[in-house]
Amino acid sequence: MFEKIRRPLVVLLLMASVGGTIFIGKIYSPEITSLPITELETKFLMPSVVGDSLSSTWFCPGVPARDVKVKSEIVIANPTQTPITGTITLLSSEEPATSSTLIVAPLSRGVFDATGGHKSQFISAIIELDSGQASVEQRIIHLAGDSVALCANETSDRWFFADGFTGAESDFDILLTNPFPDSTVVDLSFVTTDGKRQPALLKGIVLRGQSVTGISMGEQGARNESVLAVSVRATSGRFVAGKLQHFLGRGRLGFTSALGAPTTSRQWWFASGEKGAGVDEELVVFNPTEIDQSVSVAFLTGSAEALLREPLILTVPAGRVTTLSTSSLPAIANGRYGILISSVTGDFISSNDDTATEFVVVEQVVSRTRENKTGTSVILGAPSGSPSRVWTSPSGLTVGEVGSIVVANTTSLDTTVRVSTIGPAGAAPIVGLEKVELKAASVISIAIPPSIAQLQILIESETEVVVQREFSRGHQLYGLSGVLALPYRSPQVATSK
């Protein structure tokens, strides 16, 4: 019997195998059920708390160290039950780097002098800790207004600043920190209303190993510019870039410091948009690429459909800056809202990999004016991939009676938010803020009681959100300082891209 069916059986078997081979090889595309490690290795675009790692390193953008009236601090929050040890290395513009060890007690914050007593023009700090749970940021106590800046987890070979302002002789300093032992060479270019400029002096700037270089844009031919975007690209090596802005007029007053954007992004999120009397809000969109970019601006006003309903489209010419004054948009009602700015250039659906090409950089400039008192804050948005379910504010909401966190729900699902502080007893929800309702595509501003505002704050949500902090500028100045909170890096965050 087998003799008779043997040949057809063989032919059938072979044909099935050949068919299977062709099907698998040419047609069948298997679904990846589990992502290999390398799939998670995409670059996280904004500073974040690493989480499970055994160590973490933070590169702070730098502080002015020569002005005795200015005080600078490095704030390190330890949410764990064990002490965190590490080193703080201070890089200066004139002196060699110095290192010292530090210990942060469990469930507390450590505040360290960001200058280490040195009197260099600029100093920036590298903080290396033996815990991935720690979070670090830099705070400058300035007479023109206190400012908190995030510290970077990584260096980058390019940095962008969408908003630079030298109007009314305002100061605008770019701080370039090279934490590596070898020199790094960078090219700096800037964009004004007249177009892109790259002076020869700003080409091939050598950043010595383990040093900080400060560049005053006003002294580099960009004086009195109301529009001034800067891009710094390394021809070899990597570095960290931050900015110090001291606004002196033309509608802006105050002091702000910030980390630059290490990359462009297709999307930028802002939790705290506001329209109202005395609030002048601008979105500064910088297109550092060689092609024109179209961006859509959507406002998160509590309706998920609003995100999709005919958003505002702006065209940002190649290498130029476009400013959108949201205060003048009649379609937006007074009140708070979140903002999503997305580049719609190219194939939006298939181009998920934001690292593959360059898009735009967006900063939000908010000037609050009342009775001839003005306070200006500048915030870099949260780029693609940044929305997370867990955020933290290492330095709490430190100054004054005005302090709040603004949470924007970036999803189309309603969610709840829990706000906790980390004190000596560990993480404890703030009474009344255990379960704050937050509707889809909406924002909520949560005031933090002054009594606990100086503790590390933890914001947890069931969906991905963007969290921004607003706090007093201190020194009885009008207006608010603003900065993003720090998201936790997690698989959910990474895969959500």
């Binding site: 032919v11 195998s17 698998i24 090889g25 298997p30 490690i37 590596f180």
Partner: protein, 1084 residues
């Protein structure tokens, strides 16, 4: 002319001597009826007949069904005949000798006959008459062609001193009675030979060691030595078919004829003449072999040369046989020499042939006699010459300047490597590559050291030999495997296609040493499998449809001795390759399964399949066994990854076309190789009879191999497979075998003309094959099979060799296939490996992979990949990693780019070199392999974990024991002031630091490495204590390898050759009765 009719004589005195015909019958054709009738019609009365019927041996048992039928047929025609059925076919001479048992008495004559001779009715009487008249002992008839009796086949034969036969007549010479005189002759064909019984008994019959081809020469030569007369009686005429080789293709006529000729000459020539005669044979064979390439007789001449040379291994047989023959030597050697042709029978034949060609009629006949076999051997000779030339021309760059260091092609003699140092390393109990481990060194090191001695220490030559030689080894392996098709042209096609597929050349281009060795070895594995299965062709016909049965392969019994030999050879081959490429075991196992499944469908006997399966499994495990103690390395939780050597690399997405074309982008027009798949389909369509089984085997190898490769390529297998080139070696074997099967089928159909459509399809097969081999042909121009011009290793010169600031390690990280050393996987895309300072060499081909230091490296790299640290340099400082090298290749992968990105972010790394294809970082926080730690670092070394490394930088006060030796072979000593000595190797208590006379014990440092706390100052010396049993292990291992070599070479067969011949070699399985014949009426 009056004739005496002995058989019809009534007188007792004049009665004719009884004649007993003895015939061996082996699977005869329809013509056998005529043979029987001719015997029955003899006019000689005193005639008896003895027949020996051979039988088929199936599954170790004699299948006598056909023989029984034949016996009945014989007894119908010749009722008084004695018929013996024997097991198998033990040989013509051996069977004829059995006549001595069946026939009693010496007073009679034996007429020895083939089963394909047709006697005239008076042939026997004529032969007897001439014997009596001439007082000869051996008489032979005139042989003419069966189909055309006017054409002569033989009128007796002469030989020269070398045993070369002079047939006296020209091929296709017409019988015009020009040779019809009775004459003394040196020997006559055993096709029909009348022998006096007493002479036959005195000479003890034919030589039992000569199975076929040459028994007549040997017998007649001994007859001459004993004083007997050998004549030819042309009046007796016999028609002869002479088609034995077609009926029994398993016997290689050329090889057997040559071997038996040489043995006959060396056993029967006078001892003082022998050296000169042997030298003459050798010179003649060598010249003939060279000319054979062009004359179409390459195969035969090569057989002659081999037989001549093998006299040395036959020495024992020759010696014993000469002693046996000594008792019959009565005639002086000079008398024998007079009977031999003076000069060379070969030249005599040649001259005669040239003269004959002048005759147009003979020339015409010779032209029509263009034998297939001759033409195929001529083609084979030419083709071999061309193929070998092309391989050598294509490899000229490698042959002249050595291989470039690419992929796994690491220089054998890089650094301080010599054959001696390799052997020293092999003997050491410290495996020094990678981070090192207290374990047995790889067997491959020992093999290289051993090989190094054979090439007089020139390891570079050994490397070239292994690379280029692999191409030839693969060719000959496929040549042997295709020998199963019993057709020279098929063998040639199979071997040519195999060597022309781009797989080996791609392996050379990309430096895939493991793949190259696997491709070379796999045909040998299959050849040994088929030999162990005793697979033989067998054309069986379906009685109902009168067509050839497709599943008609025959399985002959393979004796235990032969099986032992085959298994030993398989274990040796696999063991040898496993020492370098363990993945061959996986592929062999899969190949054996596919082979056996195909055999099941092909109808191969269960016993053969079982044998092949068992042999395959024994081969796999045996090869692991002979690689002990190194192969204990595979006893690990990750044994599969270690065996496949693929480091969990999957989901390559090369694509079906790339895989099927066996080309990974290194050869122009690689897609043309797809044409070779036509042969696979074609072989299935056209193969008939036993060839269909071969078509099936080739198809299963192709389809199974390709399916596996595609599944692995898509990441659909639950386990990792070896790299694609290694999997595809199965496909290459299948393609070559399919091509050979097609060639075999078409060569048969073209001669038999049984099917027109097959010939039509056959026209396309050469086209497909030509197209398929075209890409490789074009690659010959390159000279080194497209190895890259600039290799990564050339850039390593930027890294110092034995620097004053201490010995260091280099970490290679990135795509597995781009790394030039043995690797560990970190993710499914990223692997790493480390090497000591100095040039990377072959030692790095193997590395221990599961040490505590590997765990440290794994953690550091995982943190790097996940961007959890910017201090990877510190994490790697206890590993003594100074340089981090990321090869990028022509098209950097996404994972490599991410690694570069992450490495660029590390603040304790310097960018030393940054190019499109390679990036090198220097770790500013590195520690030398042996270093004296400062106080803080010494304290930190007592801690376990990354936190001890991250927070502060480890500092070395100074390096120790800086030289170009590996850490276990440090020859220098160093003075120091005391402190903690850190040794960047996995902890082992056999490490020993001696300061002056004080021996210090090591401790674990950083949870992985080794440290000595030495609070004393003095002269320090570092050493590793190797177990005394290590040498014993190696001695036992060497004995095992040597034993296997002896078994595989089967030296015992030479002992068997001199063993006394007993009647046991012929085994009767059935006969008609216990009848015997008594010769008692013979008188002179």
């Amino acid at each position: 002319m009056s004739r005496v009719r002995f058989g019809s004589s009534k007188s007792g005195e004049n009665s004719a001597p009884p004649v007993v015909t003895a015939m061996v019958v082996h699977q005869p054709g329809p013509w056998f009826d005529e043979v029987l009738q001719s015997l029955a019609s003899q006019d000689y009365a005193a005639l008896s007949h003895v027949f020996f019927l051979t039988s088929q041996v199936v599954n170790a048992k004699a299948d006598t069904a056909a023989s029984q039928l034949l016996m009945k047929k014989i007894q119908t025609v010749l009722p008084e005949s004695i018929v013996r059925i024997v097991e198998g076919n033990p040989g013509f001479g051996a069977l004829i000798n059995e006549t001595q048992r069946i026939v009693e008495g010496n007073r009679g004559l034996f007429c020895v006959m083939h089963d394909d001779v047709l006697l005239q009715s008076s042939t026997i009487s004529q032969l007897v008459h001439e014997m009596l008249v001439s007082n000869a002992s051996v008489v032979g008839p005139k042989l003419v062609q069966w189909d055309n009796p006017t054409i002569l086949k033989s009128v007796g034969l002469l030989i020269d001193r070398c045993g070369e036969v002079d047939p006296l007549i020209e091929a296709n010479e017409r019988d015009q009675e020009q040779h019809d005189s009775v004459k003394d002759i040196f020997f006559i064909s055993s096709a029909c030979m009348l022998i006096r019984a007493d002479t036959f008994r005195e000479l003890d019959g034919f030589c039992r060691e000569i199975s076929f081809f040459g028994e007549d020469l040997e017998f007649c030569w001994r007859a001459h030595l004993s004083g007997a007369r050998v004549i030819v009686a042309p009046s007796a005429v016999v028609r002869h078919r002479e088609m034995f080789t077609q009926r029994a293709p398993e016997f290689s006529r050329d090889a057997l004829t040559a071997r038996h000729r040489v043995r006959t000459v060396t056993t029967l020539t006078w001892r003082l003449e022998l050296p000169l005669v042997w030298l003459q044979m050798l010179v003649t064979s060598v010249i003939e072999t060279i000319f054979g390439v062009f004359s179409g007789n390459f195969r035969g001449s090569l057989a002659n040369l081999r037989a001549t040379v093998s006299v040395f291994v036959d020495f024992a047989y020759v010696w014993g046989r000469r002693r046996e023959v000594r008792k019959v030597r009565r005639v002086p050697a000079s008398d024998i020499s007079k009977m031999q042709v003076r000069g060379s029978a070969r030249i005599t034949k040649f001259i005669r042939h040239r003269r004959a060609l002048e005759s147009s009629s003979i020339a015409s006949a010779a032209k029509s006699q263009k034998l297939w076999r001759q033409s195929s051997t001529r083609e084979a000779g030419f083709a071999l010459l061309v193929i070998f030339s092309l391989i050598i021309i294509g490899s000229r760059g490698i042959i002249l300047n050595g291989s470039r260091t690419v992929g796994e092609f690491l220089p054998f003699e890089g650094g301080a490597n010599t054959a001696g140092s390799l052997m020293q390393m092999f003997r050491s109990g410290w495996w020094s590559s990678g981070f090192g481990e207290a374990a047995a060194n790889p067997t491959g090191l020992g093999i290289l050291a051993f090989g190094g001695f054979f090439v007089f220490g020139n390891l570079a030559f050994l490397e070239t030999l292994m690379i280029v030689g692999s191409l030839f080894v693969g060719f000959f392996g496929m040549w042997r495997l295709c020998g199963s098709l019993y057709n020279t042209r098929a063998r040639l096609v199979g071997a040519t296609v195999y060597v022309a597929l781009p797989l080996s050349y791609d392996a050379i281009a990309r430096g895939r040493f493991s793949a190259l060795l696997t491709v070379a070895a796999l045909p040998w594995v299959f050849d040994l499998l088929r030999r162990s299965g005793g697979l033989q062709p067998n054309e069986r016909i379906d009685g109902s449809t009168n067509s050839l049965l497709s599943n008609s392969e025959k399985s002959t019994d393979v004796g235990i001795s032969r099986l032992t030999q085959l298994i030993s050879a398989l274990v040796l081959i696999l063991g040898l390759v496993t020492a370098f490429a363990p993945a061959i075991l996986v592929i062999t196992f899969i190949g054996v399964i596919l082979w056996c499944v195909a055999s099941v469908f092909g109808g191969t006997s269960v016993r053969s399949i079982g044998t092949m399966l068992s042999v395959g499994v024994v081969g796999v495990f045996g090869s692991l066994f002979i690689n002990l103690p190194w192969s204990m390395h595979f006893v690990s939780g990750k044994w599969w990854e270690l065996l496949t050597s693929d480091q969990s690399i999957g989901d390559r997405n090369l694509g079906l076309v790339t895989l099927a074309s066996l080309d990974f982008g290194n050869i122009t027009g690689g897609t043309l190789v797809l044409a070779s798949y036509f042969c696979v389909a074609c072989s299935l369509l056209v193969a008939n009879s036993w060839r269909f089984v071969w078509a099936l085997r080739s198809s299963f190898l192709v389809v199974g191999g390709l399916l596996l490769a595609v599944l692995d390529d898509q990441g659909l297998l639950p386990f990792q497979m070896p790299e694609p080139v290694i999997i595809l070696s199965l496909v290459a074997c299948g393609l070559a075998l399919a091509s050979a099967t097609c060639a075999s089928v078409f060569s048969e159909t073209s001669t038999k003309k049984t099917s027109d459509w097959r010939r039509s399809v056959g026209l396309l097969v050469p086209v497909a094959m030509s197209v398929a081999i075209l890409p490789t042909l074009l690659s010959v121009v390159d000279g080194r099979w497209h190895q890259p011009d600039a290799t990564v290793s050339q850039l390593f010169a930027q890294m110092p060799d034995n620097p004053a600031d201490g010995n260091y390690r280099t970490l290679f990280v990135g795509d597995n296939e781009l790394l030039p050393i043995s690797t560990n996987s970190v993710t499914n895309k990223v692997s790493y490996g480390v090497s000591d300072d100095g040039p990377v060499n072959i030692i790095s081909h193997w590395a221990p992979q599961r040490t505590a230091m590997n765990a440290l490296a794994d953690h550091a790299l995982t943190a790097l990949i996940n961007r959890q640290t910017v201090r990877v340099g510190r994490l790697m400082s206890p590993l003594a990693i100074r340089y981090i090298v990321v090869p990028l290749g022509n098209q950097p992968s996404q994972s490599s780019r991410l690694i570069i990105d992450s490495l660029s972010n590390q603040i304790d790394l310097r960018r030393l070199y940054f190019a499109k294809d390679l990036v090198i970082f220097e770790n500013s926080a590195w520690l030398p392999i042996v270093s004296l730690l400062d106080e803080e670092s010494a304290v930190a070394s007592e801690k376990v974990g990354e936190s001890a490394l991250i927070v502060r930088e480890l500092r070395s006060m100074r390096p120790l024991f800086v030289d170009d030796q590996s850490v276990s072979n440090k020859t220098v000593s160093d003075s120091f002031e005391g402190g903690t000595v850190h040794l960047a190797v996995p902890f082992n208590k056999n490490w020993q630091l001696t300061v002056d006379s004080a021996r210090l014990s090591p401790r674990v440092a950083f949870g992985a490495s080794t440290a000595f706390d030495a609070p004393i100052k003095g002269v320090a010396k570092l050493s590793f204590r190797t177990s005394k049993f290590r040498d014993l292990y190696l001695f036992v291992q060497a004995l095992i390898w040597f034993g296997l070599l002896i078994l595989a070479a089967n030296f015992s067969r030479f002992r068997r050759q001199v063993r006394a011949v007993t009647g046991e070699s012929v085994r009767l399985v059935a006969d008609d009765s216990q009848k015997i014949i008594k010769l008692d009426r013979f008188s002179k």
